[in-house]
C-alpha cells in the first residue's frame, strides 16, 4: 500500500487539485454552486446530438480498427517473418505525429489533387478526381484507424501469442474449421484482449480533438472539441466545466469496465506457442494480405509525407532540411532542429523516468486488493481530460508556494507523465500479476530478501513490461502537443511545437520545413522503437 503513496501524491497535486480548483472556480465562483452558465446543456438539443456524434464516430472507428487489426494480429502472433520487428516499430510511428502533419500526409496521398487521384485520373483518363474523401466522416474514421491500429495490433497479438495452442487444436479435432473455428474458438479465447483493445481505442477516439477539427467539417464536433471552443473562444467556463465532467464521468465508467476486463488479461509466463514461418499457400496469402493492409493504411501516408519533404518542383531536394538550420530573420522564435530534438528528448527521458518510477510503484499497489478496482480507472482519467482543462487548472491552482509552478518548465514533463502513467501501468501490471506467488516464496526460502529478492527474482520477470512502458512513456512525450500549448512556459519548444509554429506562417519554405521536421521526428522515434523492440519479444507485455 505504501508504494501507492508517491503516485497518489503526484495525482493529487498535479491532477485532482488543479482540475477541482478549475471546476470550483467555474461552477461555484461565489462559493455557491451556480449552474446557470451551463443551462444551455439542457435547453438546447445540440449537446445531445454532439454526444450522439461523439459516441457514433468513436464506435465506428473502433469497429473498423478492430476489423482491420484482428487478421494482422493473427499473422503477427503465429508467424515469423523477416522485418517483423521493424514493421511493428513503423506501425507505432503514427502515434507520435501531430495531426496537422498527418492531415498533410493524407491530403498528399488521397486529396483531390493528391498522388492517388492524379494517378487514377491519368490511367483511367478521368476529368474529375474519383476519390473525394476530404472533410467527410470517412476520412475521420480512416485517420482514427491510422492512429490506433498499432494499439489494437499489439494488444491482441501479444495476448494471442501467449495463449497455449492446445485449445485450438482440440477445436480442430472436434471438427471446427474456417469461420466456425474463428467464431467458436478463437474469438472467445481472445475476448479479453479484443474488448480491452476496443475500449482503449474507443476512449482515444471519443476524446479525439485534432483529427475531428482539422480533417472533418466544422459541423463535426466531439465533446472534446466543444470543451475547447467553450473554454477558449467563448470563455464560457461553466459550460466547459460541465461538459468536461460529463466526458470524464462517461470515460470513468468505461474505464471501470476496461480495468475489470484487463484483470483477466494475464500473460502466461510459460509455454506460449512458438511463432513459425508461414508454409501453406493460405498462410502466405494471409501474411501478404495483412502486409498489404498495413502498407496502404499506415505506410503509404507516411511515405507520401517523406516524399513531399524531399521534393521541390518535381525534383529531389534537401533544401527544407538545410533551411531548418538557418535563421535569416535573426528571430528569437528560431529554434535549430537539433535544439528542438534535444528539448523533446530531455522531456521524453524525464517523462520516461518519472513515469516508470511512479508507474511501477502504482502497479505494485494495484497488484492485489479492492482498491485496484477504483484506483486503476482513476489513473486512466488523465487520458480523458482535455488539455485546455488541465492547462487552465494548472494556471489557477499551482500559483503559490510550495507548488508555484505555473510558468516552470518542469510542468511539461509532469503533464506528459500524467498521460504516460496509464500506459506504464498497463504494461507492467499484467506481468506483475502473472508472477506466481510461489516464486518469491521459494526465493525467500532460499535466502533472498528485500532488495535482492526484487532485483534477482521480480525485476527480470517484469523487465519486458518495464521496457514496453518506457517506450510508450517516451512516445507519449515525443508526440504530445496539447499540454505543451496550453501550459505557459519559457521558450523550450519541442519538435511538435516548432512544427506548429512553422505551419502558422505563409510561404513554401515554412511548409517544407514543417514536413522536414516531421520526417526528423519520425526518424528519431523509429530509432527509439527499434532499439526497444530488440529487447522484447512479441509474446510478452501488454499492447
Amino acid at each position: 500500500m505504501l508504494l501507492g503513496l508517491p503516485v497518489f501524491l503526484f495525482l493529487t497535486a498535479f491532477y485532482v487539485y488543479p482540475i477541482l480548483s478549475l471546476f470550483a472556480a467555474s461552477l461555484a465562483p461565489e462559493g455557491r454552486l451556480d449552474l446557470s452558465g451551463a443551462a444551455a446543456l439542457v435547453d438546447s438539443p445540440y449537446y445531445l446530438r454532439l454526444l450522439g456524434f461523439t459516441v457514433a464516430q468513436a464506435a465506428l472507428s473502433t469497429l473498423l480498427t478492430l476489423a482491420l487489426a484482428l487478421p494482422s494480429a493473427y499473422v503477427f502472433a503465429r508467424f515469423d517473418f523477416g522485418g517483423k520487428r521493424l514493421l511493428l516499430a513503423l506501425a507505432t510511428l503514427p502515434f507520435v505525429l501531430p495531426t496537422v502533419v498527418v492531415a498533410a500526409a493524407f491530403s498528399a496521398l488521397i486529396g483531390e489533387s493528391g498522388l492517388l487521384n492524379e494517378a487514377l485520373m491519368g490511367t483511367l483518363s478521368l476529368v474529375e478526381p474519383p476519390i473525394r474523401l476530404e472533410r467527410t466522416l470517412a476520412i475521420i474514421l480512416i485517420v482514427h484507424v491510422f492512429y490506433n491500429y498499432s494499439v489494437a495490433l499489439r494488444l491482441i497479438a501479444s495476448f494471442w501469442a501467449s495463449q497455449s495452442p492446445s485449445i485450438e487444436e482440440a477445436g480442430r479435432t472436434l471438427g471446427a474449421h474456417g469461420w466456425r473455428l474463428w467464431w467458436h474458438v478463437r474469438l472467445p479465447i481472445l475476448r479479453p484482449a479484443i474488448l480491452g483493445a476496443a475500449l482503449l481505442v474507443f476512449i482515444f477516439c471519443f476524446t479525439s480533438f485534432g483529427v475531428v477539427l482539422i480533417l472533418g467539417e466544422p459541423r463535426f464536433a466531439t465533446l472534446e472539441v466543444e470543451i475547447y471552443r467553450q473554454a477558449t473562444s467563448l470563455f464560457n467556463l461553466p459550460l466547459a466545466a460541465a461538459l468536461s465532467i460529463i466526458q470524464m464521468g462517461l470515460m470513468y465508467l468505461l474505464m471501470i469496465v476496461y480495468a475489470g476486463i484487463q484483470r483477466q488479461v494475464v500473460v502466461e509466463l510459460r509455454s506460449p506457442q512458438q511463432a513459425r514461418t508461414p508454409q501453406r499457400p493460405a498462410e502466405r496469402a494471409a501474411l501478404a494480405a495483412s502486409l498489404l493492409v498495413m502498407f496502404t493504411l499506415l505506410f503509404a501516408p507516411l511515405l507520401a509525407l517523406i516524399v513531399r519533404a524531399f521534393t521541390l518542383g518535381g525534383g529531389f531536394t534537401l533544401r527544407y532540411f538545410a533551411a531548418l538550420n538557418s535563421n535569416p530573420r535573426g528571430s528569437i522564435l528560431f529554434t535549430p532542429p537539433m535544439t528542438a530534438v534535444g528539448n523533446s528528448l530531455v522531456f521524453a527521458i524525464a517523462t520516461m523516468l518519472l513515469g516508470l518510477l511512479l508507474g511501477t510503484a502504482a502497479a505494485y499497489a494495484l497488484r492485489r486488493g479492492r482498491l485496484a478496482r477504483w484506483l486503476d480507472p482513476l489513473l486512466m482519467l488523465p487520458l480523458a481530460t482535455s488539455a485546455v482543462t488541465l492547462g487552465f487548472g494548472f494556471i489557477i491552482a499551482l500559483d503559490e508556494p510550495p507548488l508555484n509552478l505555473r510558468s516552470s518548465v518542469v510542468l511539461i514533463p509532469i503533464a506528459h507523465t500524467l498521460v504516460a502513467l496509464p500506459f506504464v501501468i498497463r504494461s507492467v501490471l499484467p506481468a506483475l500479476r502473472a508472477i506466481p506467488p510461489a516464486l518469491p516464496d521459494a526465493a525467500r526460502v532460499l535466502g533472498a530478501h528485500g532488495w535482492s529478492l526484487w532485483r534477482r527474482v521480480e525485476l527480470p520477470l517484469i523487465a519486458r513490461g518495464l521496457i514496453v512502458g518506457a517506450v510508450f512513456a517516451f512516445t507519449v512525450s515525443m508526440g504530445e502537443f496539447g499540454a505543451s500549448l496550453f501550459i505557459a512556459r519559457p521558450d523550450t519548444p519541442t519538435v511538435p511545437v516548432v512544427i506548429f509554429r512553422l505551419l502558422g506562417q505563409p510561404g513554401a519554405l515554412n511548409y517544407g520545413q514543417a514536413l522536414a521536421l516531421s520526417v526528423i521526428l519520425m526518424g528519431v522515434c523509429a530509432l527509439a522503437f527499434i532499439l526497444i523492440e530488440r529487447s522484447r519479444s512479441l509474446g510478452a507485455g501488454d499492447f
Binding site: Y46, S107, F235, G330
Partner: protein
C-alpha cells in the same frame, strides 16, 4: 525500492523552488505568434538593464483567458497581443492598469483607444487572398465587394475559417456584420445563407484553410482559389519562397469594405510585480527599432509614424484604403451573439 522512490520524490520535489520576480526581470505574457529579432531584444536588455522573460500562453484568446484566470497573481508584468476582437473581455475583467506612454504621440491616432489602459502596437488587415495562377487561367475577375462572393461564378471557390475558433475567421464574420448589418431586408445572416448555398468551405483554423484548402500558396495542397488570410500574406510568400521569386503566387483583395482591421494592444498587467519594468517594455514596443522589426517578424504593420517598412513590404504588401473598422465596444456588444448565430446557421 521504497527508499529509492522516496528519494526520487524528494529530488523531483526540490526542483519546485518558487521563483520570485526580481526588479531586474520583466516578464512578458504573449501569444504563440510573438516574435522579435534577437539583436533588437538584446539591445533593449543592454540599455535598460532588464532581463526579459517571455511566456507564451497559446493563441490570443487562450492567452487572454489564462490571464483573466490568474489576474490576482499574474504570470507576468506586461501583456502583448490582445486584439480589438478580444480587448473588451480583458477590459471587463480589469486586466490592466493604465499607462500613458510618451511615445504614443508618434502613433497614428486612429489606432488609439482614448481612456483605455492599453496602447496599440501593430495592426494587420484580414483580407481575401487569391491564387494568381488560377484566376489568370480561368479569366474570372477578382471580386470587388463581399456581395460578389455569392454569385455563381464564385461557387466552390472560397475558404473561410470558423469564427468560433479562428481569429481571421472572426474578423471576416465581423466584416460581414459591418457591411450587411443585422436589420433590414438582407442581413449578414442572409448573406451567410447565400455563401453556404454557394458552397463556401469552412475550415477550422488558418493553417488548415491556407495550407490544406487554398490552392494559391506555394506550399499548399488545396483546390480552392480564394481564402481568408492577411494583406501581409503575399509578401510572406515572397519572403519565404524557395527558390526566390519576383512575384507572389498569391494576391490580397483590398477593395473597399472587403478587409477587416485587427489592431493588437499591449498593457501593464494589474498586480504586476515589476510595474516600472513593464512600462519600459511598452515604451520599447513603441520605439522605432521594435516597430521596424515587426513586419518581418510577425507579418503585421507598425503603428508608429516613424517606422519605415522593409523592402518586401513596400513592394508586395498593399494596405487597404477602406478597411472595415469596428470599435472594440461594438465588437464587445455583439461578438458572442454573432458567433452563436453564425454557428447555428452555418454549422448545425
Amino acid at each position: 525500492m521504497r527508499t529509492m522512490l522516496l528519494l526520487a520524490w524528494l529530488i523531483v520535489g526540490s526542483v519546485f523552488v518558487p521563483v520570485s520576480a526580481q526588479d531586474s526581470t520583466v516578464r512578458l505574457v504573449t501569444h504563440d505568434s510573438f516574435n522579435v529579432s534577437e539583436g533588437v531584444l538584446a539591445a533593449f536588455e543592454q540599455e535598460s538593464g532588464l532581463t526579459v522573460e517571455i511566456l507564451r500562453l497559446g493563441d490570443a484568446g487562450t492567452m487572454v483567458n489564462q490571464s483573466i484566470l490568474s489576474r490576482e497573481n499574474p504570470l507576468g508584468d506586461v501583456l502583448y497581443g490582445v486584439d480589438n476582437t478580444f480587448l473588451s473581455r480583458a477590459l471587463d475583467a480589469d486586466l490592466f492598469i493604465p499607462y500613458e506612454s510618451p511615445l504614443l504621440e508618434r502613433v497614428d491616432s486612429s489606432f488609439s483607444v482614448p481612456g483605455s489602459p492599453v496602447v496599440p502596437v501593430d495592426f494587420g488587415d484580414v483580407c481575401l487572398n487569391y491564387d494568381v495562377a488560377a484566376f489568370e487561367a480561368s479569366g474570372l475577375p477578382l471580386p470587388t465587394s463581399l456581395a460578389d462572393l455569392v454569385h455563381p461564378e464564385y461557387a466552390r471557390a472560397l475558404v473561410v475559417q470558423n469564427p468560433a475558433t479562428s481569429s481571421p475567421g472572426l474578423a471576416f464574420l465581423l466584416a460581414t456584420v459591418a457591411v450587411f448589418g443585422e436589420d433590414g431586408d438582407y442581413t449578414y445572416l442572409d448573406y451567410w445563407s447565400d455563401l453556404v448555398a454557394n458552397e463556401v468551405v469552412i475550415a477550422d483554423d488558418w493553417t488548415d484553410a491556407y495550407y490544406g484548402q487554398f490552392s494559391g500558396s506555394a506550399g499548399s495542397a488545396g483546390d480552392y482559389p480564394l481564402v481568408v488570410s492577411y494583406a501581409s500574406s503575399p509578401p510572406a510568400e515572397v519572403f519565404f519562397a524557395d527558390p526566390p521569386v519576383n512575384a507572389a503566387p498569391t494576391g490580397a483583395v483590398t477593395a473597399p469594405e472587403m478587409c477587416f482591421r485587427q489592431i493588437e494592444y499591449a498593457g501593464v498587467l494589474a498586480n504586476a510585480a515589476n510595474v516600472e519594468g513593464a512600462q519600459r517594455f511598452i515604451d520599447f514596443m513603441l520605439s522605432r527599432s521594435f516597430q521596424e522589426d515587426l513586419p518581418l517578424q510577425m507579418f503585421v504593420f507598425p503603428v508608429s509614424l516613424d517606422a519605415a517598412l522593409p523592402d518586401v513590404f513596400q513592394q508586395y504588401a498593399v494596405v487597404p484604403e477602406e478597411p472595415v473598422i469596428m470599435s472594440f465596444d461594438a465588437i464587445a456588444a455583439g461578438r458572442d451573439r454573432w458567433i452563436a448565430e453564425w454557428t447555428e446557421l452555418v454549422l448545425r
